[in-house]
């Protein structure tokens, strides 16, 4: 009886996880712009893989395999969102915005429109500037040497 219940639960999580995998990969192909596609990809990372690993843990029972799978789940839940964040951060810093965004309310970071900046970024950029200047100098000197 217990075996049947565990089997049903694990198969349910396999099927739901596979559904999320399918939805995520379909979204990565079909959605409109980079940000929506990144959202679909992170669904695969968390919901799809998480549910499939949960199904495997139910099949494994109380054993060393389950402990290893739990560790995999833990590290995937740490690294997956971090990787998505790194990709999104790089795209945001390079000036990519959602395609139907009317007004740019996130004007802190992009360096292109200078007058609408807040105080914080001004000080940050002022603090950054001498470092950049020294870096440029050092790179010039190395180029001269080479």
């Amino acid at each position: 009886m217990m075996v049947v219940v565990v089997d049903i639960l694990s198969w349910a999580s396999f099927i739901v996880g596979g559904f999320f995998l399918f939805v995520g990969s379909l979204g990565m192909v079909r959605l409109v712009d980079f940000w929506a596609r990144l959202h679909a990809a992170s669904i695969i990372d968390s919901a799809g893989v998480g549910l499939i690993l949960l199904g495997m843990m139910l099949q494994g029972g109380l054993s060393l395999v389950t402990a290893k799978l739990a560790l995999i789940v833990l590290f995937l839940f740490i690294t997956g969102p971090t990787a998505s964040h790194a990709v999104a951060n790089a795209a945001f810093m390079s000036g990519s915005r959602p395609h139907d965004m009317v007004e740019d309310v996130t004007a802190e970071t992009p360096p292109k429109k200078t007058p609408s900046k807040s105080k914080k970024t001004k000080t940050a950029s002022a603090a950054k500037a001498p470092k950049a200047a020294t870096a440029a100098k050092s790179s010039k000197t190395t180029r001269k040497k080479s």
Partner: protein, 145 residues
């Protein structure tokens, strides 16, 4: 690098488990899946992750170039030295049976020593490759993206 706060925090969390897992793969290599090659790469990945996020300069403070280059040679020295020791004890080259009184114990010790040599060399080569790629002057500044 001000906008990489999350990456820095996650890297600080992850570097220690990666190194621990590298050691596990290294010393588990004679019982199950694993061994020197994989352990060297995993161990190097921990440091390479640190170098990518915190900068090559701070990584070079931990492992200067000459240390990395000598690690590459040291691993080969451990590998070949194990074989020479076997020859000195009366066996063939890499004939582990002479290392201990019982043959299988000698094979155990010999394989651990050889895998350690392989791991050290692979670690050094991965770090050297990363240094030579990441040490080039950047073509784009962080702001110009």
């Amino acid at each position: 690098m001000d906008h990489h706060l999350i990456l820095r925090v996650i890297t600080k969390i992850l570097v220690a488990p990666i190194l621990l897992y590298g050691l596990y793969v290294q010393f588990h290599g004679d019982f199950g899946p694993g061994g020197g090659f994989q352990a060297g790469v995993i161990f190097a990945v921990g440091f390479i992750l640190y170098g990518i996020v915190f900068g090559l300069r701070r990584l070079r403070q931990i492992f200067p170039d000459y240390v990395v280059h000598r690690l590459v040679a040291l691993g080969v020295l451990i590998y070949a030295g194990t074989g020479i020791v076997n020859m000195a004890l009366g066996g063939n080259f890499l004939d582990y049976n002479v290392l201990a009184e019982k043959g299988y114990q000698g094979q155990h010790w010999g394989i651990i020593a050889v895998e350690l040599g392989v791991g050290v060399t692979v670690f050094g080569v991965m770090m050297a490759i990363f240094y030579s790629f990441a040490g080039r002057p950047p073509s784009l500044d962080d702001k110009e993206w």
